[in-house]
Symmetry: C2
Subunit: 243 residues, 2 copies
């Protein structure tokens, strides 16, 4: 019999920011699999349901575990924060899926941090934009640097994922220094932190100030394009309407 795994984007974390479709996939699941932090975010919603959490950097075994659970005949949901197809586990599931030809994969889209963070800050990515992760765990820094330069050359608004962690304290500063080769020091920027969770916070600053901002795994950073403005504390990237 064919089994099916739902790969669910839960959005930033708060129940209200999940889609009805994502909620239903979790409602219907016999078992929910995910990274420890994300499983914790949903355990109040599903206290009676089987939940399996695996720690960070265990992505391959977490994905294999989903296929194993599905092979047992359980309706299986893999939860990712934000959207599973934006720095989430969707592609790894498809890669591993070659070993489990009887299992169908369904991605249930969610609100990714570029979008939820943008809503907090105003409208920072309201024109062409790039998403770039500063994490070099899986991507060589040279590739990250090349993309930062290309994003600047193309005058894209930019959303930076994974801007820093304990081990990568100076990565945001390094990224800002690259962008400062192309952009003015007072380019409007902003940060959104703990989106949809406790201690949500957002603030705007200049690119020069962003160099010295302390960020973590729960921060999403925004850099405006050449038309962006800070108005009333909000970061606005214009569409081009003639007012």
């Amino acid at each position: 019999m064919q089994s099916k795994i739902y790969i669910v984007g839960m959005g930033p974390g708060r129940e209200e920011m999940m889609t009805a479709e994502a909620r239903r996939a979790l409602d219907d699941a016999d078992v929910i699999v995910g990274y420890t932090t994300y499983i914790r975010l949903i355990e109040d919603l599903y206290p009676e349901k089987e939940r399996i959490s695996t720690p960070m950097r265990q992505e391959i075994s977490r994905c294999r575990l989903c296929f194993e659970q599905a092979a047992l005949g359980k309706k299986t949901a893999l939860v990712c924060s934000g959207d599973a197809g934006v720095y989430g586990l969707a592609s790894l599931m498809y890669e591993l899926g070659a070993d489990y030809p009887d299992t169908e994969l369904v991605v249930v889209p969610g609100v990714t941090a570029a979008v939820s963070g943008a809503a907090l800050l105003g409208a920072p990515i309201n024109h062409d934009f790039c998403a770039i992760s500063l994490s070099d765990l899986l991507t060589p820094w040279e590739v990250i640097e090349k993309r930062l330069r290309a994003a600047a050359a193309g005058d894209f608004a930019i959303a930076l994922y994974n801007p820093g962690s304990h081990k990568r304290e100076d990565y945001l500063r390094r990224a800002c220094d690259i962008l400062l080769e192309y952009m003015e020091a007072d380019r409007p920027c902003g940060c959104a932190e703990n989106i949809g969770r406790e201690h949500t916070r957002s603030f705007v600053c200049t690119l020069k100030e962003l160099r010295d901002v302390s960020v973590n795994m729960f921060t999403t950073v925004f850099i405006g394009n050449s038309t962006s403005e800070i108005r009333n504390g909000k970061l606005i990237t214009k569409r081009g309407y003639q007012l």
Copy 2:
């Protein structure tokens, strides 16, 4: 008294793809304002509620209408398809908001087409990506071309919004020809159409084939990066896990 306008991303269109938060903002509204097509998508949900639709290219008057409704003391919601902060009306509302200092704006994030289309196709933007609109109504074609070239130079996965319309029939072909200067002809690509609506369809193809695909306002186009693969009919952009 301060009034408040909710700028609501309704996702692709289907009720189940809205967040609970978006749904509640519409539930609570006295009046819902939007582009004709989007108002039609929600009229079954809110048959009794006051709805005001304005046609395409009336964005400025549509936004002003929201401020006027709010000034009358009505709880006002402006609906956008996908997310209001990604090629939606969020930034225009903030720009016009300068004229209405007593009105607070709240953006309620939604699932944008890059994300919902990606879910249909597999995982095409599962690493650093760019969103680029091919519409030159508000953006000179030279800027669009510059961004296509920068996206290719940076080896980003790409999501193209507004890839074509009656008046812009050959725009996707022009974009492909630019990208073909940088990418191999068999670069994996894909299209998602009528996401979350009737006649949903998605398919993969090569960049060379994409040149001749007929697209419209309801198509989102995806171009893989140099690591992307087509597997089992799905377009997969890898994160870099060593399997």
